[in-house]
């Protein structure tokens, strides 16, 4: 993980690296504090289990980091989760696809949904916020229309290995998430693709005049966002053993919260996968730690909100000091 922390210093302003360091320190302090209150919190079992529960959000948060770095946003991810989940169940049950094909189909539908976002955003020049609010409603509506709000259940046992199984004691989907985190981190940090994202976010016009293929890059990241949502849907269906059209409702806010808490600027041009991972872990473990310490659900949401505001304040005060 330190690979990602060490290198952005060159390209990304210094305060940002400090923001992540600070966030990591806060995270460790919070964990130690909660761990002192409750001896069931800092156990391997609990932490691995939290890893399992946060995987769906984590999968989507990776491409969302890309999207937000370019100054865009994708609000339709939760709806794509619902649509892909429905497509998985529907193609398997109604079209009679074999399950592996149905999984591929669900991923393809997710990717296509993301591609449509990217295509319209770049060609028709609809702002990402407007476009993805529209497709948020559209995809959720399609999910409801196609499924007629009926669940699909009774998948074969092997399929549950992805969402409920483990490998060497580690939840299967957590391994998947870790692999994708590494790939996303390297892609953002070490490739021209990654540098193009920062260039678009910092100054899109300059990026265009530098002969960067801005539109194609944008289509790619929105497609990735849809693809990751489709993957999250497959993992979620496997974990909860059923398909519902309301799956993933509200995910967009959890995902964006993790990305922004991790120091990615909502105005684009700055952010790291490393920060997103800290943000993701922080929200998940804070919720879990507070719940185990006996704080009720509604109060936990308040704490998460305060943490978000604090992080924004810290980020902006650090930025002011830099200026």
């Amino acid at each position: 993980m330190s690979v990602f922390a060490a290198s952005p210093g060159r390209r990304v302003p210094k305060w940002l690296a400090r923001h992540e360091t600070l966030l990591a320190i806060i995270l460790v302090a919070a964990l130690a504090g909660l761990g002192a209150f409750n001896n069931r919190f800092l156990t391997v079992d609990n932490l691995l289990n939290q890893g399992r529960l946060m995987t769906e959000i984590g999968l989507i948060a990776l491409p969302m980091t890309f999207v937000i770095i370019t100054g865009g946003i994708d609000l339709s991810v939760g709806a794509i989760v619902g649509l892909s989940a429905v497509m998985l169940g529907y193609s398997w049950k109604t079209f009679g696809f074999p399950l592996p094909l149905a999984i591929a189909f669900a991923l393809a539908v997710g990717g296509l949904a993301g591609f449509v976002n990217g295509f319209v955003i770049t060609r028709v020049k609809v702002p990402p916020l407007i476009m993805t609010i529209a497709t948020l409603a559209l995809y959720r509506g399609l999910a409801e229309g196609v499924s007629q709000a009926r669940s699909v259940r009774g998948y074969p046992e092997w399929f549950y290995g992805l969402g409920q199984g483990e490998w060497l004691g580690v939840p299967t989907q957590l391994l998947l998430l870790v692999v994708l985190i590494v790939i996303a981190g390297v892609a953002l940090d070490r490739t021209t693709f990654g540098r193009t994202l920062y260039a678009i976010g910092s100054n899109e016009t300059a990026a265009r005049f530098s002969a960067l293929d801005v539109d194609r890059t944008k289509v790619v990241i929105y497609t990735l966002s849809g693809l990751a949502s489709g993957l999250a849907a497959v993992v979620l269906v496997s974990r909860v053993t059923t398909t519902r059209m309301d799956m993933g409702m509200g995910y967009e806010l959890d995902v964006i919260a993790a990305v922004v808490l991790g120091g990615t600027s909502i105005f684009g041009g700055a952010g790291t996968i490393w920060g997103t991972v800290i943000g993701l872990v922080m929200i998940q473990l804070l919720k879990n730690g507070l719940a185990l310490t006996g704080v009720k659900g509604d109060a936990t949401i308040v704490v998460i909100g305060v943490a978000l505001i604090m992080s924004t304040l810290i980020a902006s005060s650090l930025q002011r000091r830099r200026e």
Partner: protein, 373 residues
């Protein structure tokens, strides 16, 4: 250039909408679910007792012997902050007080989301409670986490909305689905006549209890009132305003054809009654539905609504807590036929591993003032 893309986008949107509509046309868009139905016999005769079923619940593995000792129980309803689950939570606290050695608390998501509910239960498993009471947002999706609780020696009892049977020990059934369906459809047929047309205002098509009731109503209507004409089912969340608007739309859209409205939630029923009253259709459009008596008193007294169907949610929470205590104490074992539930007396075991709270109660002008909840 731009216009061409816009046209393409519009065409694509139309095609998508067409696809969704075609998918609808293939099946019935009625808000029911796909599970098997078991409509009761027609007419007024007492329901034939169902054939006794073998216990089909799950059992906790290596549960600590807490018989007679204090236990910590957490209640995770579908969502918190609505009247219905406030009432069940009150029943749980009442029972905890009556029993003495039960410490109960209610905690859950603020929206009826299944993955949120799963996370709450998962956290309480880790924090080490003795028992979990739940009302499931989805019977299948909740099963893995409940089975995990059982495997950690935690007692699991459901109420209001069931899970798959092997994921919990017992389920307190407020009233069998087919019983509610029969009461509702019979009441509607009586008010609209056997060939009346009706519509349904439900919460959402994915809410399991409502979907189950609608499926059972459909089966029972087909069997016993085949001439009743089902116009459509509309969604109104559990939102007062939306329910009122949806009911008003139904009245305007179907005009004289509409003879009755079913309210499937304790919010939809009074809102539908209000819509009928405001439209001046009292006596022309019947309202039958599930609702709490307090919300329905004005409409029952003005003769706009003749019958309201419900059980007592406070009793439901109360019974669930007694069942939990009995399961922990070993007083309710697989194969038992009844359980003692404090002030509610003895409750019977049905369907293998369900405890029946009672038959649905029909409130009408004669008795509604005797109830206050």
């Amino acid at each position: 250039m731009k216009a061409r893309y816009l046209t393409t986008a519009a065409a694509a949107a139309l095609a998508l909408a067409g696809l969704a509509t075609a998918a609808n046309a293939a099946g019935k868009w009625d808000g029911g679910d796909d599970l098997a139905t078991s409509p009761l016999e027609c007419g007024m005769g007492p329901a034939a007792p169902a054939a006794p079923m073998k216990y089909d619940g799950g059992q906790p593995t290596n549960a600590a012997d807490k018989a007679g000792k204090e236990i910590v129980v957490v209640d995770v309803p579908k969502l918190i902050g609505i009247g219905y689950f406030n009432a069940t939570a009150k029943g749980i606290q009442d029972a905890a007080k009556d029993i003495g050695n039960v410490k109960a608390k209610t905690d859950g998501p603020t929206e009826a989301k299944i993955d949120e509910q799963i996370k709450f239960i998962d956290n309480y498993i880790t924090s080490g409670v003795d028992g979990i009471l739940f009302a499931a947002n989805d019977p299948v999706a909740i099963a893995p986490v409940l089975k995990k609780a059982l495997s950690k020696g935690i007692h699991v009892v459901g109420y209001d909305a069931n899970s798959t049977p092997d994921a919990r020990e017992w389920f307190v059934n407020q009233s069998p689905f087919n019983g509610i369906a029969k009461s509702m459809v019979d009441a509607m047929a009586k008010e609209t006549g056997e060939d009346g047309s009706f519509a349904i205002v439900t919460s959402t098509f994915t809410t399991p209890n409502q979907a189950r009731w609608i499926a059972e109503m459909q089966a029972y209507a087909a069997k016993c009132h085949p001439k009743l004409n089902w116009l459509e089912t509309v969604e109104a969340q559990e939102d007062n305003n939306l329910s009122f608007n949806q009911a008003t739309t139904l009245i305007n859209k179907h005009g004289d054809k509409l003879k009755g409205i079913f309210g499937m939630t304790s919010v939809a029923t009074p809102a539908s009654a209000e819509a009928v009253t405001k439209a001046g259709q009292c006596g022309k459009v019947a309202v039958v539905g599930l609702a709490t008596p307090n919300a329905m008193k004005p409409y029952v007294h003005s003769d706009c609504v003749k019958s309201v169907v419900l059980w007592n949610p406070i009793d439901l929470g109360y019974a669930a807590t007694y069942v939990m205590r009995a399961a922990v104490d070993g007083k309710l074992k697989p194969g038992d036929t009844s359980v003692d539930a404090g002030k509610l007396g003895k409750l019977n075991v049905i369907n293998g591993s369900e405890i029946l709270l009672g038959a649905p109660y029909i409130f009408d002008k004669a008795n509604i003032d005797k109830f206050d909840f």
